[in-house]
């Protein structure tokens, strides 16, 4: 199977300013890839290179097995720019039709269906739309021609929570149909629920690529159990992965590292009345990760 994205040593300098340095990355078909990093990290630079808006200083980039410079390659892609600017004087529907024609024709019904899904009004001039509503138009045009590969630069910016849910549902549908999505964000929480893998870019460099499921498994989470009657502490001592154990009468609380299996089996010997497990905060893990990287890069140990 050809990779959807295949870059090697991809580097972009804007004059002397570094945009992206030495990116080697593969994204496989059917994958949702979350591309994370703080502002100025190089996400937009990467995305513009993938779409041939800008040209690499060094390195190679192939998308869907072809060169993004070829119109035929771009015909199979959809794109939502990070700072989307729309033709102010146009009505949204006219603009979408124009984009649709340029991409080889999009059925009107499909545009309407998407507009209905996002609750977007296509009949007003686009200058009258709020930021969130413009973003909806941007999303519609990125998905309407059912591209094999959708690239979304900070797609959730300005969307209200309801539309955000609808958008995430759409991304899942795209994955189910075997197509591929790359979405960038500066907050993990926005992409972790739909992404299969996340890549973290910082100061122009890709510092990590992680599988979200693996990450979840690794995540530390806090668990509280309440039993019908007091339980003996030794029933929970020395369980694999269990730390910070506190037993107070009928209540047990601890943090678990990885799988909760051992704890659940130990608890099953008693009557459980209440169980609370906090959602693991991947954000926190990443922040920890970041600060390590930062320490590593920016403050080299004196020799």
């Amino acid at each position: 199977m050809t990779a959807v994205v295949q870059t090697e040593g991809l580097t972009k300098y804007y004059g002397k300013r570094r945009g992206l340095e030495d990116l080697t990355l593969e994204i496989q078909p059917g994958e949702v890839f979350g591309y994370l990093g703080p502002n100025g990290a190089g996400k937009t630079t990467t995305i513009r290179l993938l779409l041939d808006v800008i040209r690499p200083t060094r390195g190679t980039v192939r998308v869907l097995g072809g060169d993004p410079r070829e119109p035929a390659t771009r015909a199979r892609m959809g794109y939502l720019p990070g700072d989307l600017v729309l033709e102010e004087r146009d009505r949204a529907i006219d603009y979408l039709r124009f984009l649709g024609r340029a991409r080889g024709g999009v059925p009107a019904a499909r545009i309407e269906a998407l507009a209905e899904r996002f609750d977007a009004d296509l009949s007003v001039p686009m200058r009258k739309l709020s930021k969130g509503n413009k973003q909806k138009i941007g999303l519609i045009q990125a998905f309407m021609h059912e591209p094999e590969f959708v690239i979304l630069d900070e797609p959730t910016a300005g969307l209200d929570p309801l539309v955000q849910q609808e958008f995430l549902a759409l991304v899942r549908e795209v994955r189910t149909s075997g197509r591929t999505v790359l979405m960038s964000s500066h907050v993990l929480a926005e992409v972790e629920n739909v992404s299969d893998r996340v890549g973290i870019v910082r100061a122009g460099r890709l510092v990590a690529v992680e599988n979200v499921a693996v990450l979840r498994e690794k995540a530390v989470r806090r668990v509280e159990l309440h039993f019908e009657s007091p339980v003996p502490r030794d029933a929970f001592d020395d369980l694999p992965g269990v730390r910070d154990l506190r037993v107070e009468g009928a209540g047990v609380s601890c943090t678990i590292d990885g799988r909760p299996d051992a704890l659940i089996k130990a608890a099953a010997r008693f009557t459980v009345v209440h169980l609370v497990s906090a959602e693991p905060d991947l954000e926190e893990i990443f922040l920890t990760y970041y600060s390590h990287e930062e320490a590593h890069h920016d403050h080299p140990q004196p020799a």
Binding site: R48, P71, L84, R103
Partner: protein, 263 residues
Amino acid sequence: MITRSLRDVRWVLTWWTAGVSAFIVLYLSVYGNIKQSPELYGPAMLAKFPGPLRDLMGGLEDMTSGAGFLQTVVYQLFVPMLCIACATLLANRALATPEETGTLELIVTLPVDRRRLVLARFAALVLSLLVLTAVTLLVAAGMVTLVSAGVPFGRILAGHTGVLLIALFYGTVALTAGAATGRRIVASAVVGVWVVAGYAVTTIGRSVEGIAWLKWVSPFHYYSSGRPLYEGLPVGDYLVLAGATVVLALTAVLAFDRRDVGV
């Protein structure tokens, strides 16, 4: 792509066409008075403008004949300048403005070859200027008949073809500068400097020894030295303008194809 560009500029184009037409109507309607008393207006004009200024206006030798009047008020300065301004505006709208505002980013990701995109925008510029000059040609020809200035249609057509060519030339200069730099201000500045310098060289500069050779790089030399209103279509001169425009357009295509957009 071409249709889309034309749609984008339809209002600007309409207003400019109306404006230039109104200008022609206004000035040519004065000719009736001049024709009735040439002995009054001719010397008065010459007296009003001192030597260099007269040069700048193209001589003013012959304000009282139909062709002379038409040449001075319509074809010498105002109408070509208005059309050049309009061409520059339209050319900037084609690439530099959308690049600066950011709308071009999505357009270049469409499955359209960049070279074809530039050619389509150039074609739209040609068509827009054709509309502008065709309408104003009819207005000029109509007014000439109305005030009985006695200039044959063929000569007006020849003069107006020059307007189209010089406007298109400078429009393409703007398009090329915009395609190469992505900056509207650069494109406008290149046109502005070249227009003023070129015009000055072919008018005031004509009589200045040291800079007379500069006329060869002035588009206005090819525009007016053939005296189309008196002598008909100056084929050679016009071909130079058209040829230069084609070379510039190809430069625009190549320049834009190599560039980072929106940087």
